[in-house]
């Protein structure tokens, strides 16, 4: 026993150190088999290694509580001291680490949004017709994992943690493998389970008969009191009643709830798979972490921000988001906007980003449709984040709304913008991009400003441009 063994002073020191406290990494985010392959160095949907930090003085010395000091030039430049350690001591005798500011700062930014994490939608239908009732993941009735077997059955539509898999998310081969390896050996146990259920049903029947006849209650029948013949009969009944059989199997194996999604024409058009009633996780599967994923413990955003001059504000301050991918062909759904480091689709329902047509896109200044080369970092829009949902793949999906104009002005004023910028007109059309010749001039030998010709050789200098020249209209 470890407790009986005496611990040396050095051992005691090590056991309380950072080195021994770093947990093992978790498996990477589940990706689909053929999709989402790309760069190996891209930021993952959630971190897999613990992020360690250290104080300023220790950081300068390279002291991160690890086996050896880390190089200062590489680890002292970032504003925040955040690292992830892949190997404390590798075979080459070095500490394999990398910067973890991608996930660390994303978490800080998300927490600055002050939005709650909510349970997925259960109602079907258009999102704009029926406003979603935001339900926090920390509600007492849903956020429970320690419960007895009877409570487990009762709360199957509310709880998030299940011991068995979600069958709809398994491929055919995976399902067969699971049946062979996990389910088949449990046949005897399943029969025992069914006997208990059968005994309870028989007891209920007997009690009902006794009440009808006016006789005293008979004693409860135990599982051992049922015969094999009764069990066989019960099995035959269950085989004819699929729903009841699945109920039994689901209870025994603790399967995640499965309900046929309500795929009518409206739901198909809106791109949602929502379920009428039932568990919020029956459409896309239960979450692989706690529904909040430890990101934020806010239960609601029902608080008012107090402005020093104008008093409590009805709407929260809007947040600047980056247009990462403009929509093509006027389709609003393929717009991708980045809020606090998370990619999300644009505001749903009635909003400027969802209006098709030339007049609307022109009015919004083509922010949602074109790449703006003139502006550094591309187009930015102000949005109002409403809530976040952690999906069954562990991804954070933030729902945003269009920013309120007044809230935007008030927020800008508070940040120190003057009237000329706060009362801004719709963004003007972006300046036309520079010509490729200008780009060559910038990155090559430079422009000969006097002569007006670039120093670096161009197609024109080689005479390859002359064909275009000849085709220009002759000046008569």
């Amino acid at each position: 026993m470890a407790a009986a063994r005496s611990v040396t002073p050095g051992g005691a020191l090590l056991r309380n150190s950072r080195m021994f406290a770093i947990p093992a990494p978790i498996p990477p985010p589940p990706e689909s088999a053929v999709g989402s392959r790309g760069s190996r160095t891209r930021t993952l949907a959630y971190p897999t290694h613990q992020i360690i930090t250290t104080g300023n003085v220790a950081r300068k010395r390279g002291d991160w509580g690890l086996k050896r000091p880390l190089p200062s030039r590489a680890t002292t430049k970032a504003t925040y001291a955040m690292l992830r350690v892949n190997e404390i001591d590798s075979i080459e005798g070095i500490t394999d680490y990398s910067s973890a500011t991608d996930h660390g700062i994303t978490l800080k930014k998300f927490q600055q949004l002050h939005i709650p994490i909510t349970v997925p939608e259960t109602k079907s239908g258009f999102s704009r017709d029926s406003p979603k009732t935001l339900r926090s993941v920390f509600e007492e009735d849903t956020d429970v994992t320690a419960m007895g077997p009877e409570d487990r059955i009762k709360l199957v539509d509310k709880r998030w943690k299940f011991n068995g898999p979600w069958l709809a998310g398994m491929g055919h081969g995976e399902l067969n493998q699971w049946l062979e390896r996990t389910v088949r050996p449990k046949r005897a146990q399943f029969h025992q389970f069914l006997k208990k259920k059968l005994a309870a049903e028989i007891t209920n029947e007997m009690r009902q008969k006794a009440i009808d006849a006016g006789e005293p209650e008979p004693p409860a029948l135990k599982a051992s009191g049922t015969t094999e013949e009764q069990l066989l009969q019960y099995l035959r009944v269950l085989r004819n009643n699929r729903a009841r059989l699945f109920d039994m199997v689901g209870q025994f194996l603790d399967l995640a709830p499965l309900k046929a999604p309500n795929l009518d024409a409206a739901a198909e058009f809106s791109g949602q798979i929502a379920v009428e009633g039932g568990s919020p996780y029956s459409a896309r599967g239960p979450p692989i972490t706690h529904p909040s994923a430890g990101l934020s413990y806010l239960r609601s955003s029902s608080f008012l921000e107090n402005h020093p001059f104008y008093g409590p504000q009805e709407k929260h301050a809007p947040v600047e988001a980056r247009v990462v991918k403009p929509r093509r062909g006027g389709d609003p759904r393929d717009l991708r906007v980045g809020v606090a480091g998370f990619i999300t689709s644009g505001p749903a329902g009635e909003s400027k980003s969802n209006r098709k047509g030339g007049a609307h896109t022109r009015q919004s200044g083509y922010i949602y449709d074109r790449i703006n080369l003139a502006k550094k970092g591309g187009n930015k829009v102000f949005v109002q984040p409403i809530e976040a949902v952690v999906s069954s793949m562990g991804r954070v999906e933030i729902r945003v709304d269009e920013a309120d104009a007044e809230a935007f002005l008030v927020a800008q004023e508070l940040l120190g913008a003057d009237e000329t910028t706060t009362f801004r007109k719709p963004a003007a059309e972006p300046k036309p991009a520079t010509r490729t010749l200008d780009l060559r001039g910038r990155y090559g030998g430079g422009y000969d400003k006097v002569a007006g010709a670039p120093k670096l050789s161009t197609a024109r200098q080689y005479g390859l441009d002359t064909t275009f020249k000849r085709l220009r209209p002759q000046q008569s």
Binding site: D102, K325, R370, R472
Partner: protein
């Protein structure tokens, strides 16, 4: 649409054959007869026709002169040309960013850099799971499925390594056997992909890689016209 493609193809033919020097004296653009005399001038007339049809001789609109209604329509046309050029430019730049952003992706400044963007262009990584195990089928029983065969060979008909297919050794051997069977029976070509797949899944390269301001018919060129 047909007229535009005719113009662009005619223009390319003219570019190829133009080796004669331009005539020194500029000739009038108003005379229709003069446009028919010279071949080279006919080419320049094509560009004229495309850009400023108002100057096309003999045109009905010329009879009206430079009316304000016409200049308004010219402005509208110019605005449309500008719109199309801008859209074309956005398309060209979007082609430089092949990453498909999904909801829930996390990005840091490094993910927006050209280094990361380049890595999304040619995805070399094998599938994370063994697809044969996931789908639960026997490759040998599906030797007639030419889509499955084509997916596990190189474009030149060589069987892909398990590093590329992501199959475990047992399934890799079964898949290889199915491929050899299909090719041996003549159900699948041995040196290229199946013709039905070549027909439907060959990517078309458009001319959008050229800078739009340099093209003479900048406004007319769309991503749907084929080079």
């Amino acid at each position: 649409m047909a007229s535009r493609t005719w113009f662009s193809s005619a223009l390319r033919q003219c570019q190829a054959t133009l080796s004669r020097p331009q005539p020194k004296a500029p000739f009038s653009t108003t005379s229709r007869a003069s446009s028919l005399k010279d071949h080279t001038s006919a080419v320049s007339k094509l560009s004229d026709l495309a850009r400023t049809p108002s100057r096309t001789p003999g045109d009905v609109r010329n009879l009206l002169g430079n009316s304000t209604a016409f200049s308004a329509s010219r402005q509208k046309r110019e605005a449309t040309e500008k719109d199309l050029a801008a859209t074309s430019q956005t398309d060209a730049y979007l082609r430089m960013m092949p990453r498909r952003w999904r909801k829930g992706d996390v990005y840091a400044p490094k993910d927006l850099s050209h280094v990361e963007a380049k890595r999304f262009r040619h995805i070399q990584a094998p599938p994370a799971v063994d697809v044969v195990d996931m789908m639960g089928f026997n490759p040998i029983d599906n030797y007639r499925n030419f889509a499955m065969i084509s997916e596990h060979i190189t474009p030149h008909g060589r069987i892909e390594h398990s590093k590329a297919t992501g199959l475990r050794p047992v399934n890799q051997r079964k898949m290889a056997k199915a491929i050899r069977r299909a090719i041996g029976m003549g159900l699948h070509p041995s040196v290229h992909l199946h013709p039905e797949i070549l027909l439907n899944h060959t990517p078309h390269i458009t001319h959008g890689t050229l800078p739009t301001t340099q093209l003479p018919f900048a406004a007319k060129a769309t991503r749907f016209s084929r080079t």
